[in-house]
């Protein structure tokens, strides 16, 4: 080429060959070929300029040479990339002598529209490592001889660079890791951007180079053959990463030609154009840009994993502190997995045959925040096709463990990347790397869902005041796994071709519910959350201080438990849209709406009673569970507050109905079950004075901590009370026969066969009190406005054994009837709301005054004392 192009001016040569390279690229879409050819063309131009302006002998002058750095050093130069040059000399005097020549050479390159980026150094200057500018040393790793005194270049390449790397190994790796992690953070630590920068984003070309450099640095002890360029396409790199490089280079060349400059943003318009031409995919056109983008993510993902893996492994190789940390983590090794340098290996050396082992591996990484070793990933990937994964409750048990663990999002991403998530839940393939274009979302649908789960788990370590509020709500959620599952599935319907994505997610959700054998009660919760996941954001667009807005929203939500979960789902959903989406403004408004709705729900529990004629659909649903008993069911439901219906599933209500039908024969019906770490006691009987106080007192006597309670009564005088309590001394948990004795004792207490006061006095004195961490002042508030039938009494007090009994018995002694009781505990604060009546009506001022005085005295008298 050199001989035939000598007669051409540099401008003509550059124009002619640039056009030729572009034409070839447009025909083949081969980015690697285009970048290599452009590097050759620029080599020829720089060499001719060298001969014209520095030395007519390409191998002279003595003591001075020219080298390519960075991407140009790797002999890969995309159409509009900078031309990084190193003017290298053996002394400052030589450099000064050629200062004008260097200036003229760069000027002429700029005149040719070649963006020369020169650095002039002495060899000894290159030996100085600046920890604040590790980029320069890194760029020397890729330096390539172009012209001038070869001996000067060889000194740099064969002696200086290896010495600098050896002397500053830790600082160099640390600098490179720091720069990479900062860049990753800037891009949300994810490959899955809707409009990615294909050079800078995780999984982009910069990551590929970082991985090459780290690979290179790690093996630097090995001598490098003279003249070999940098580690551009290392043989050790997996085929997937090499494919990724080819794809990304094609896209980068395409973007440069499209934008006419060094712009590497794969915007929506660029995606359309690239898809139409099938850039990177052998010129095979795509009708749908989203499908083409899936190819982009498929290629970027292995590069990202490779770079991250090397960042961990190479950093660990020499950093004693990091090794110490990893060694501490290696203590979590068990019979299935060993942890070496922060990576999880399978203990068994044979092929993976146990599908549960694979699921346990992700539970393990979710719990400990560890990464799978590449060997483990490979073995799982190889075995995946032949494994028969568990279904139903067994699968749900594994998925539940992953979802609840602190690093759930990290494990889910790995499960997704390795195809495990899509194998156990094939419906999830619908949103694999799916780009849905809108002005707000920054990530693909699957990544958005994982980021939302991550956002919820981050609440366990809240940093800002606003996060602490949501963290408190999360602590109170009874079945957080259902919340996490809802977050995982809330947008899965976006993968369906048409219709609203909420309907789509519900449709797909049904298949997943069946696959996981969720109970009807669990399905109803997840359905509710998916169906309403946009409702809170919609309510925020209205006046959240308007009573009607709050009332309408509260009616849609129905119960405090659902409100808590919906609020957290909305928080996580907004937060995962993009890093700026959840502004402090929005976080505050979301919480204000939550608080106002919670207040409304607690102050409107008897707002409306059940009317079967108005809710035929609801009756039908429960009636289907108790065939041929529709009329008795209507009678049972008549007059129960709506709050009761919303607080219980159809199955629970059907069970209550069945139990209630037996109270003629056995007037006190009790059901006891252990749900997680709490026992749940359901009592159905006819209402009578002191009933709620008696049951609370009996539980106190058995040294049970009442955490939550709901008490409702119907028009027919039947009460349905549900009390959740903690068995502090594991009396019932460890002695199943005691459960029957416990129930018998409760029935005796309700029937007045034992003296509750005496029972408490004989047993509670021995109970050890939990240490008081936060002192809570007793506060009593009466409200005659919120309910049309009752007076609301809100009691805030220091939680302690026997508190509920004390309040309920005081109310009973004042002749007050508890119509509804909503009992809750937040840390060591009891928050109880009672709907009480006195002689069939609201409490008058005198009764309130007397009750307030007695209650205040009672609750302050035996209040436990806190620290200080």
């Amino acid at each position: 080429m050199a001989t035939s192009t000598r007669s051409l001016s540099l401008r003509d040569l550059h124009a002619r060959d640039s056009a030729r390279i572009r034409k070839a690229f447009e025909a083949t879409s081969d980015g690697l070929a285009a970048t290599t050819q452009r590097a050759k063309l620029v080599d020829e131009i720089t060499l001719r300029l060298w001969q014209e302006l520095i030395s007519s002998d390409a191998a002279a002058p003595r003591g001075f040479c020219l080298a390519a750095r960075g991407g140009y050093g790797r002999a890969m130069l995309p159409p509009h990339s900078d031309v990084d040059l190193l003017f290298l000399s053996d002394s400052e005097a030589v450099l000064n002598r050629h200062k004008d020549g260097i200036g003229r050479m760069c000027q002429q390159m700029w005149d040719l529209h070649l963006r020369a980026s020169p650095t002039a150094r002495t060899v000894s200057g290159c030996a100085q490592f600046d920890p604040n500018n590790s980029e320069l040393t890194v760029s020397l790793l890729d330096c390539r001889y172009l012209g001038g005194d070869r001996q000067v270049f060889d000194r740099l390449h064969d002696e200086t660079v290896p010495q600098v790397v050896h002397r500053n190994w830790d600082a160099l790796v640390q600098g490179l890791s720091g720069l990479t992690r900062t860049r990753h953070t800037k891009y949300g630590n994810t490959v899955f951007h809707l409009e990615p920068n294909i050079k800078e984003c995780p999984g982009g070309l910069r990551d590929y180079n970082v991985a090459c450099w780290l690979n290179f640095i790690a093996a630097f002890e090995k001598p490098r053959p003279r003249g070999e360029s940098g580690p551009a396409l290392d043989e050790s790199v997996g085929e997937e990463c090499q494919d990724g490089l080819r794809f990304l280079m094609s896209v980068r060349c395409f973007l440069h030609y499209l934008h006419g400059r060094d712009d590497n943003t794969l915007s929506w318009e660029a995606q359309d154009a690239a898809a139409a031409r099938g850039v990177g995919i052998y010129g095979q056109p795509f009708d749908n840009a989203a499908e083409w983008m899936r190819n982009y993510f498929r290629h970027a993902r292995p590069i990202s994993r490779w770079a991250n893996q090397l960042l961990d492994e190479v950093s660990a190789a020499r950093s004693s502190l990091y090794r110490q940390f990893l060694s501490w983590r290696s203590r979590v090794s068990n019979a299935d997995f060993s942890v070496v340098d922060g990576r999880v290996y399978l203990q068994q050396s044979t092929g993976v045959r146990d599908p549960e082992l694979v699921l346990r591996a992700f539970e393990f990484t979710a719990r400990h925040g560890l990464k799978l070793a590449s060997d483990t990933e490979r073995r799982i990937a190889e075995a995946l096709g032949s494994l028969s994964f568990p279904q139903g409750a067994e699968l749900w048990a594994h998925l539940r463990e992953v979802l609840l663990a602190p690093n759930a999002a990290h494990a889910l991403r790995d499960m997704h990347a390795l195809g495990v998530l899509d194998t156990v839940l094939p419906e999830y393939r619908l949103i694999d790397s799916l780009v849905i274009r809108d002005f707000y979302h920054r990530y693909t649908v699957d990544e958005h869902s994982f980021a939302a789960i991550e956002g919820l788990h981050l609440l366990h370590k809240p940093e800002a005041e606003s996060e602490a509020r949501y963290a408190e709500i999360l602590k109170e959620v009874e079945e957080p796994e259902l919340l996490y599952l809802s977050v995982l599935l809330h947008d899965v319907g976006k993968g369906l071709p048409q219709g609203s994505h909420v309907d789509g997610s519900l449709e797909v959700g049904e298949k997943i519910f069946a696959r996981l054998s969720l109970s009807e009660e669990q399905r109803e919760t997840v359905r509710f959350l998916i169906a309403n996941h946009l409702e809170m954001s919609a309510a925020l667009r209205r006046d959240i201080f308007d009573h009607e807005t709050v009332r309408a929203f509260a009616h849609k939500v129905g119960s405090p438990e659902r409100l808590k979960m919906l609020c957290l789902l909305s928080y996580a959903d907004i937060r995962a849209v993009n890093p700026q989406a959840l502004t402090p403004w929005k976080a505050e408004d979301l919480w204000l709406l939550y608080a106002a709705t919670m207040n409304y729900l607690n102050h409107s529990a008897d707002d409306a009673s059940f009317q079967a004629s108005l809710q035929a659909e609801y009756v039908d649903k429960i009636a289907a569970l108790v065939p041929r008993q529709e009329q008795p069911l209507r009678e049972f439901l008549a007059g129960l507050p709506q709050r009761y219906l919303r607080a219980h599933s159809s199955e629970q209500i059907a069970t209550h109905f069945a139990v209630a039908s037996r109270i003629r024969q056995h007037p006190v019906q009790l059901a006891l079950k252990l749900a997680r770490d709490l026992f749940e006691l359901t009592l159905i009987t006819r209402d009578r004075p002191f009933l709620f106080a008696t049951i609370a007192g009996a539980l106190t006597a058995w040294r049970m901590d009442i955490v939550k309670a709901n008490a409702f009564s119907s028009q027919t005088g039947v009460v349905v009370d549900t009390l959740s309590f903690r068995d502090r001394f594991r009396t019932l948990e460890q002695n199943p026969p005691e459960r029957e004795r416990f129930k018998r004792n409760l029935i005796e207490a309700i029937n007045g066969e034992v003296d509750i006061e005496q029972l408490i006095a004989s047993r509670v004195s021995t109970a050890r009190l939990a240490p008081i961490k936060v002192t809570v002042d007793t506060r009593l508030a009466f409200d005659n406005e919120s309910s049309s039938h009752s007076t609301l009494l809100e009691v805030i007090a220091q939680d302690r054994p026997g508190l509920l009994y004390k309040i309920a018995s005081t109310l009973a002694r004042h002749g007050c009837n508890i119509e509804i009781a909503l009992i809750d505990t937040e840390g060591q604060m009891a928050i109880d709301v009672f709907y009480v009546t006195h002689q069939g009506g609201k409490l008058d001022g005198k009764t309130q005054k007397s009750l307030r005085a007695t209650l205040h005295a009672e609750l302050e008298d035996d209040k436990p004392v806190g620290p200080g």
């Binding site: 925020l540 209205r542 006046d543 403004w585 929005k586 204000l592 106002a596 207040n599 506060r779 604060m829």
Partner: protein, 112 residues
């Protein structure tokens, strides 16, 4: 040219935005803000704790428009942001000397 700054209830943003588009105001900037006028804030209770909501959520809409559109724009904002209750917000008008479109250096009303 006149700059119109309207501080309104967030719930009224969509209606006001549509009304402004309708009369030909195409460019605008919307900011999430908090503040209070004469109504000050109020106190709320949650789980026995009192918290004061002294700065209420509002949105601030800014648009620089040709003088001949000002009356119509003000009327559109007033009509669509008004509930008649305290807290509906305010509109501020100020003169603008120059506008420059960065892309092509257009000046004056043409740049709006």
């Amino acid at each position: 040219m006149t700059k119109v700054e309207a501080v309104i209830q967030p719930s009224k943003l969509d209606a006001v935005k549509d009304a402004l588009l309708e009369i030909g105001v195409e460019g605008m900037t919307v900011l999430e803000v908090r503040g209070h006028g004469r109504q000050k804030g109020h106190t709320e209770f949650y789980r026995g704790r009192e918290y004061s909501v002294d700065l209420l959520p509002k949105v601030k809409l800014e648009a620089v428009i040709p003088d001949e559109l000002v009356d119509k724009a003000v009327q559109a904002i007033v009509e669509h942001a008004r509930t008649g209750k305290i807290g509906d917000g305010k509109i501020f008008l100020s003169r603008i000397d120059e506008a420059i479109r960065i892309r092509n250096d257009e000046r004056g009303v043409a740049a709006l």
